[in-house]
Symmetry: C2
Subunit: 798 residues, 2 copies
């Protein structure tokens, strides 16, 4: 349903006059000056007096090398934004160049708007300098604290996928994205070039990559910088771009070339969008890209102690590192800073001059003040339908079977339908939406695809809002960029392979943990994972596809951010999904099966159970809810729940007078101490549910020791016995998998017998019978390749 | 030191005759037949009678779609290997096509050599079919069980980096590498194309990528398959390759084109190697690459139930999935299998005919039998120098300081020097060798680099054995390929960013766990990580660079494989390094600092300490080694050790009669129960070291709950109090980091006072003094930006 917005960019403007170029250079010099000042100075910001050692920071930290390039890009983006009244943000891939982005934010006034104590004058400049990389100050990289940024300048690889994520469904937005030649070597970045095959020129904004080749990484030449020109050009054209080259060392020549390249790029973008939006062109466009080739540490010290620095890897961090102790270094620093002619750039009060600010846009057009980079400001609640329409009827637990993710697919289809106009919900995944049985969504939207199509293709659409690429990194990056700019989404992934983005989720959790403490950052929609095709049901993939450890990984992170949900059936999955899609500033991990699974709870019970997060399932047990059952059978996860219910049934039949309590845990963090996680259960509640001293046999979805790690402080802990996945698996049947890992119902009954006082003798026959059944399983499966009929045909409730 | 080996490939051969093409086609049809048989049949392998439903497997599992393409590549590699007597292996990126690789191994006899019960006749064929994806049989993917493979066909992305790793320092080897168009979308694969900038045509072998574009992934078109031809060509040339295209649907035409492409590629490789090895050419060569464009599920059912299957994503797994219940499907399967004309391919006994085997090489030239793919067979012990030459002298603990990794660098330099001729040791890392202070190695070798160089570059060398690329994925993939083919190596990495390869290490641990149970797989050198630039010393990078959770991740994996080492000083790092470089079939994680660190132990003590893995440091404590110290101060990791020693010093001074035991843990797995890890400490030893009931204050390098997870079964556990990193950090000083996380010496003293009976009153003053010092720290650091002088100037031993 094209909304036919106008192209984002106005028509081409004239090349800059010499006078305008001088203002651009003044802005650039000012930013460079401020970047150096942040790295070195405690005080004396305007160099009103000669520099002295005690004015120099005791610890010199920061990355100079990339800063002049970032400053150049920022200066020229300023010009274009102002001239064309663009709605634009920039992703600063080389975010180690924090001094540059902070300098620009201070220059455009957005820094002072955000932090009034850092005024745009000499006092504020001194404070800006001092706080940088200083204890109690600001980090050395572009960080959540940096106005205008949605991209932490820490781990490299995600700039371009963040940019595409930000541009999706923002048809009026330009997302510039600086990619360093170091970052360009990473796998995630290399994959994300293909984002242009997914960007719809009608409904999405534009991404303008700026590949900054300054030649070196920390200690090595960068690969792309050392490709022959023709090879680099072929590569970038192979990525689907039209490269525009800006190369040089002379500032005025580079300004002229950069202004022309930016103008050309924006004209091309305008033409692409016009063709798509007004002329109905559906060919995949060739988007422009700028290659900026300038020296690393440009305008910094050419040599230090007789060794080349500018234009080499030695300019990466702090080019002069003995400034406090070596008078020659101190003098060189002062000369370096004065080379920017600060007296022309700042007035006597330290305020930037009119010339410096000539290119700077106003208000929310400033890159440091665009609300897209503080997405929570723009976020609207997702329209979520009533769950009753999708819930499965459950008259009796354990009779009917549903595929939970397929049931969820119905809900997601409605969300897609209800956001067809708003376009603020996306589903991402590595080519697994249908495999994960969510394909109902195709009733409401297609899969985004701008590349060629064939008649046999299905569900591909230029304007689709399902995003599939066989790159978990790209999926994650897209979704992060989308959420950070104020929209909603869900990432569905095979459980084992979500580890591919372990390090990305680390960074996102750190971002959220930090932004929760920053008052001006508005809450954003949570990053929601649906992990399915999980460890217990890799029937045909086997050992390589079995890993339930993402939950462990996530639970190491900040408790105010992370949440883990293990819905045991279709209705609980619906209730959980409803909750996580409403939540803010969290990372929610939902683990749910796609295979047929018994329905245990009607919707209302499922809702109540999810709200409590953990509770007694009285219908499954034989205890009276008091303080002293004989044994507790606990479970978390769909397959463990099925086995626990199976075990409870065996115990009910064979030991009817044994008081068995069945507890299901759907919110895993409820097991944590209440001091350690906001969802943590108070001790008295925990004791009432799990008892203080009865044997607890706990069947858990993942690695069993995680439960001990969460519950070690509880009174009942010495009596807690956990079964889970212990890295035993292959290509086999579902029931064989639980047997291999001692999580099967027969083993659980044996555990109960072994751990409940008084049962050893009384239930010796039952124990033997359980062991025999397990032996029969082993023989049967080798012969038939299928599960024992008594397991395959089992139901609880019929 | 060029060894000037001869080029790997003999000169070009003539194009295949029609007769030869017919033999190739026969081999290919046989492999296709065997692939289908594995997916479907329990018995009746030669279709001696019409198929009946009960001859069909009850669970149909496997990937047909990619199999015909893999079979085609294998057939043509056979031909080339035989004709040119090549030493070659193949990395099967689309390893889901297990049926294909197994079929070929059975055809060339290597399967029967490896598994004598699977004979190369009708009985063996039946067993081959039945075992596939059958409980108790073999996995559905290429797996460790597959002869000739070093590459698990599970997670996608690592084929090409494995291929480059295998080719390094194997100048006579050809490594073919099939890359599926799905895998080509992943980030790790996209990054690994640049391996050709590191491959030395003199000392390394050749990699021949075969990009297999069959058009579809699980449910979507593949991106590269849908690029316009010119764009794809530009991309591959941009990757530095000369693409050779093989496109078609007619088998004989494709055979002819494929034979020609393989011949051309091998001729090109010969020419490249001759130019480098004989003519001394040092230009980076343009290596050939084959693009194979054939339909997905080629030769399978064109349509099923009226829907197109061949050439679409529907051919991905099992094209006919109702064979047991739907007679039409059964008939279609039989027709499909008979379309390969099995009666021409196998004799009456089920043995492949002479025509089928005409292209198959002999002995260890067979792809299923090349010893390079069972690297342990070729592995030689690494020459390791005496540690005495590199050890730092320690007369008294805690007086002198050394940077542990820099000390290790000396040892590694010697290993590099001593392997200069053998060339079986490599150091890999993401542009951090010097940052991690291992640059002494450049005294013995350079950094591999075939791209352009500039006069300002340092340490780059065509034949260098340090490998640096800003891609942890590529580093890991290279090293895995190198180790799996029988060599040694070390991966040095920033601690936080090693999470980037979490999922890769999962797969490698699974590989090792499986191969340890496979008698014919010889042990290989361990995968050794040196994690430095660790969580406590991100002075200028801050929060984004702080993550000690890789240890947690690794400790979830198979205990027979994983080892974690936390050497507290330079000499213990040497002792640990010596051990891990000698070990086999492990994944060793060594966490060690690069910053100046107190020397605690002389070399002999360090060796003894590392051999025990954990022990009492009597010189640091005040207890007599008996069973009843008042308190135990335990530590693991360099920074925690320093703080614990600091705390022990404070206690010694202020509470001299308190019996404080200091315990250092260097082998973290010693904390685990002995039933759960081979290094686990027996309970009596644990109790003697940590006591059964005394307060234990444990300062740990990483997330504190890991220690609880390892030790929860120990008697003393209720008295165990752990301090560690709790996600609190920013750009700040080293001591401020430990204060922020309550790991500092003053806080540890307070913990001792709070937890040791009787101290609350007696040591109230001391406690207040500690709290005051912490307050002073907070004020001091905000003012000065440096640590308190009493901390900065502190030593233990002087």
């Amino acid at each position: 349903m094209p909304t036919d917005p106008q192209p984002a960019s106005a028509p081409a403007s004239a090349p800059p006059s010499d006078q305008e170029l001088r203002t651009l250079d003044a802005h650039w010099r000012a930013a460079n000056y401020l970047a150096v000042g942040q790295i070195y100075l405690l005080t004396n910001p305007l160099l009103g007096e000669p520099l002295t050692p005690e004015q120099i920071k005791p610890r010199l930290l920061g990355h100079w090398g990339t800063s002049p390039g970032l400053n150049l890009v920022h200066t020229h983006l300023n010009r274009a934004v102002k001239q064309r009244d663009l709605d634009a943000i920039c992703i600063w891939g080389p975010g180690h160049g924090g001094p540059a982005v902070l300098a620009n934010s201070w220059l455009d006034g957005s820094y002072t708007d955000t932090y009034p104590e850092i005024t745009r004058d000499a006092a504020g400049m001194a404070a800006l300098f001092r706080q940088f990389s200083f204890p109690g100050g600001v980090p050395s990289h572009v960080a959540p604290e940096t106005p205008g940024s949605i991209h932490e300048g820490g781990e490299l690889g995600y700039a371009l996928s963040h940019a595409y994520g930000a541009a999706l469904d923002n048809p009026g937005l330009l997302v510039a994205c600086v990619i360093g030649d170091g970052e360009a070597e990473t796998g995630p970045l290399a994959a994300s070039w293909h984002g242009n095959k997914f960007l719809d020129p009608v409904h999405d904004g534009a991404v303008l990559p700026v590949l900054h080749l300054n030649g070196y990484k920390i200690a090595n030449p960068a690969l792309l910088a050392r490709l022959p020109e023709a090879e680099l050009d072929a590569l970038l054209r192979g990525y689907g771009h039209e490269p525009l080259y800006v190369t040089g060392t002379d500032p005025m020549a580079v300004h002229r070339a950069m202004a022309a390249a930016v103008d050309t790029a924006l004209d091309r973008i305008t033409a692409v969008q016009r063709a798509a939006r007004q002329d109905g062109c559906t060919d995949r466009p060739t988007w422009p890209l700028i290659v900026l080739r300038t020296p690393k540490g440009w305008t910094g010290p050419a040599q230090v102690d007789g060794v080349p620095v500018e234009g080499t890897w030695r300019a990466h961090q702090v080019p002069l590192d003995q400034v406090r102790d070596n008078p020659a270094h101190l003098a060189q620093l002062e000369a370096w800073m004065r080379s920017y002619r600060p007296e022309e750039l700042f007035d006597a009060h330290g305020r930037p001059t009119e010339q410096v600010l000539a290119c700077v846009p106003e208000g929310t057009r400033r890159l440091g003040a665009n609300p897209r980079a503080n997405g929570g400001l723009l976020l609207r609640d997702l329209p979520l339908p009533r769950l009753e329409q999708y819930a499965v009827p459950v008259d009796k637990p354990g009779v009917t079977l549903h595929e939970p993710t397929r049931v969820l697919g119905g809900l997601l289809e409605q969300v897609m339908a209800d956001t067809a106009q708003r376009r603020d919900f996306r589903l991402v995944g590595p080519d697994e939406t249908a495999s994960n049985r969510l394909q109902a969504v195709y009733g409401a939207t297609g899969k985004a695809w701008q590349a060629d199509t064939l008649p046999t293709d299905e569900h591909l659409a230029h304007d689709g809002r399902v995003m599939e690429i066989l790159s978990e990194h790209t999926c994650q990056g897209w979704l992060e960029g989308y959420l950070l700019t104020g929209r909603h989404g869900l990432f569905s992934c095979y459980e084992a392979f979500v580890h591919i983005v372990d390090s990305m989720v680390n960074q996102h959790v750190k971002w959220l943990r930090t932004t929760r403490r920053i008052p001006w950052r508005a809450p954003i929609a949570s990053l929601n994972y649906l992990l399915t095709s999980h460890v217990w049901r890799q029937d045909h993939n086997g050992f390589s596809h079995q890993d339930p450890g993402f939950v462990d990984h996530v639970l190491n992170k900040s408790p105010e951010v992370v949440r883990v949900w293990l819905p045991p059936d279709a209705n609980t999955l619906l209730a959980v999904a409803d909750g996580v899609l409403r939540s803010r500033d969290h990372v929610n991990v939902v683990v749910a099966g796609k295979q047929p699974c018994f329905d245990w709870l009607p919707l209302d019970d499922a809702r109540a159970h999810c709200a409590r997060g953990a509770g007694r399932w009285e219908w499954a047990g034989t205890d009276d809810g008091g303080l002293d059952p004989d044994v507790v059978l606990a479970c978390a996860g769909d397959v463990p729940t099925q086995e626990v219910i199976g075990a409870a049934g065996l115990l009910r039949r064979h030991l009817p007078d044994l008081a068995v309590r069945v507890v299901n845990v759907v919110d895993l963090t409820r097991l944590m101490p209440s001091e350690e996680h906001p969802h943590g259960m108070p001790d008295d509640e925990f004791d009432a549910l799990f008892t203080r001293d009865r044997p607890v046999v706990f069947a858990y979805h993942g690695y069993p020791w995680l439960i001990h790690r969460l519950a070690y402080r509880r009174t009942v802990h010495p009596h807690l016995h956990v079964r889970g996945y212990k890295e035993s698996g292959t290509t086999t049947t579902p029931f064989d998998m639980v047997v291999r890992n001692d999580l099967d119902r027969y083993r659980l009954v044996m555990d109960v017998i072994d751990r409940t006082p008084g049962l050893a003798v009384r239930a010796a026959d039952l124990r033997r019978q359980m062991a025999d059944t397990r032996s029969r399983h082993h023989a049967w499966i080798r012969e038939h390749g299928t599960d024992l009929p008594e397991v395959a045909d089992w139901t609880w409730g019929s």
